[in-house]
């Protein structure tokens, strides 16, 4: 008997449990070996990659806010060629599904990235990041326009035959429109939310704390917004959802599952506790045990009455 079964299925992704690391908080999968075993996770999402190598934004890139963090890393990454040569061989050795997160400054960039990952067997899905608030062109500019979300997704779907996740930005007036556009373009899974655009000001220096002025807010402070958006799109679309935004513990994760997410992303929690993601897996399991729930699938979307 499969008691307290944590298995979850999202499109073609079969995960042993619903916990996925969020992009940009888990490096390329091997950095935290000292603190956890990646095979205990449902899947890992890799640090976002762009076509060309990127040095990222100026420092300071991080600022703490009440129960939250602002970041403006700016997608520092080795670029797709180095990623394929140096990172992919390492990923291939990991016993966990891996999701590559791709970011572009143009539709062409997204297509090129998706195309070059088409034959990489160790990449189980791509997450199309139309929502990074920290790059000047592209990124969030795509993610706030349903027509652009549709176009990017459709063009990526033409060249990539594997599972496509589209990651949405919360910096929009109507999240449902964005989700619908991604699904129409061919998204197999929707993940949300990316960070909320925000800022902090140093009152002694009388200037913004972040060198980039604005940054993306994450952590417990954004959880209610993220949860609301997952709840809203669950009613509107038929593809599975990866819910994320301030998930710090098993209780938070359960809330997202009840709101309609088939899996959850854990991000900022890892910056506080490197092993947070695996701790959350065991806390979800405890919840199932305590509530006599046989399969996690039973609670997905249960909060909708």
């Amino acid at each position: 008997m499969n008691k307290n079964n944590l298995k979850t299925k999202l499109a073609n992704l079969k995960l042993k449990n619903p916990v996925i690391t969020a992009s940009g908080t888990f490096g390329f999968g091997t950095e935290l070996d000292e603190y956890l075993s990646v095979k205990d996770l449902g899947a890992i999402t890799l640090k976002g990659i762009t076509v060309d190598k990127s040095e990222g934004n100026a420092l300071p890139r991080i600022a703490e806010t009440p129960a939250g963090v602002l970041n403006s890393i700016g997608l520092e990454n080795p670029g797709i060629d180095n990623f394929k040569q140096e990172v992919i061989p390492e990923i291939a050795t990991l016993e966990v599904p891996a999701i590559a997160n791709i970011s572009g400054y143009s539709v062409k960039d997204f297509v090129q990235l998706a195309e070059s990952l088409e034959d990489e067997d160790c990449i189980d899905a791509i997450e199309v990041n139309v929502s990074c608030p920290n790059i000047k062109d592209g990124g969030m500019a795509f993610g706030t326009d349903p027509e652009m979300i549709y176009r990017v997704t459709r063009e990526v779907a033409k060249v990539y035959s594997g599972t496509i996740i589209v990651k949405l930005s919360p910096n929009v007036t109507d999240i449902v429109k964005m989700a619908e556009a991604a699904v129409e373009g061919g998204a197999d899974i929707i993940s949300l939310i990316n960070t909320l655009l925000g800022m902090a000001i140093d009152i002694d220096k009388k200037e913004p704390v972040l060198a980039n002025t604005f940054g993306g807010l994450s952590g417990p402070a954004v959880k209610p917004v993220a949860l609301r958006m997952v709840y809203q799109i669950y009613e509107a679309i038929d593809v599975p959802i990866i819910g994320m935004g301030g998930i710090m513990n098993g209780k938070d994760a359960i809330e997202f599952l009840l709101a309609g997410a088939s899996a959850v992303g854990v991000g900022t929690a890892t910056l506080r506790d490197p092993a947070a993601s695996v701790t959350i897996v065991s806390q979800i399991k405890e919840y199932l045990e305590e509530n006599n729930i046989e399969n996690i699938s039973e609670i997905i979307g249960e909060a909708h009455k």
Binding site: G27, E31, E55, L59, R61, E64, I73, G219, L271
Partner: protein, 254 residues
């Protein structure tokens, strides 16, 4: 780790001794990442502190910190006997291979903290001179007294002139170089502006030097890329490849 004591040792300056159940392995220049509250998400992130001293016999690790924000303010209120969550042995410390050399240690402000642990190690086999800089005498008193018990030559510099050389510690180093003081190697830690100035001096005088950088950190374990340091070899993470870097390799913003 268990907080053994947490006492005020200067204006807004505290010394916290932590007791570990396991053997402490840390090297000078490495840091710990301390979670201020276990039961609250505010403050959310840990705070990094370089190691001031360790006592292997008693399994004690000591940090010295200055209250400069909400996190450190809350830290200063932690009582003896409380448990704090710590990530240990983080980053790469100072090079300890130097022997029989004329070495100068330069610390500015709280950047002095990791140099004490380093001085204890290096003074065994080297001719050590230590230059400490701070705003005023009160800020320097505790640290200066600790160094003065070691086998080394100690100089102090204060901006207001209340102790030792009047001015910043890098200017004091310049005067030593002008007086033909022989220096084989420099170790340093302090604010970025100080290290930037120091880099010019070591480049101009062709002195080998390494510095521990104080960058704002997120995770402390190499995944968030908040503490990126620009070097001639490309971007490096202060928390992982650093915090200690060969000073000539660090690229400071103009």
């Amino acid at each position: 780790m268990l907080v053994k004591d947490n006492e005020k040792v200067g204006p807004g300056i505290y010394k916290m001794a932590l007791e570990s159940e396991e053997k402490i392995k840390a090297n000078p220049g490495q840091f710990i990442h301390l979670k201020i509250k276990n039961d609250s998400y505010d403050p959310l992130l840990r705070r990094p502190f370089s190691i001031f001293d360790i006592n292997k016999k008693e399994n004690l690790l000591t940090i010295v910190y200055k209250v400069c924000g909400r996190g450190t303010k809350l830290m200063s209120e932690i009582k003896s006997g409380e448990d704090v969550d710590i990530l240990e042995n983080l980053g790469n410390g100072f090079n300890l291979k130097n022997k029989n050399k004329n070495i100068v240690l330069i610390g500015g402000g709280m950047g002095i903290a990791p140099l004490y642990f380093l001085a204890k190690k290096l003074s065994e086999n080297n001719n050590l001179r230590v230059l400490l800089g701070a705003q005023n005498k009160e800020e320097l008193l505790f640290l200066k007294n600790k160094f003065s018990k070691l086998d080394l030559k100690l100089d102090n510099a204060t901006i207001d002139g209340s102790l030792g050389f009047k001015g910043n510690v890098v200017d004091y180093l310049k005067s030593l170089i002008k007086d033909k003081q022989e220096i084989d190697y420099i170790y340093s830690c302090g604010p970025t502006a100080m290290l930037k100035e120091l880099k010019k001096i070591v480049v101009n005088n062709d002195i080998q030097a390494e510095a521990s950088l104080e960058e704002r950190m997120g995770c402390g374990v190499g995944v968030c890329l908040s503490c990126t340091v620009r070097t001639i070899n490309g971007n490096r993470r202060a928390c992982k490849e650093g915090p200690v870097f060969p000073l000539k390799e660090v690229i400071f913003d103009e």
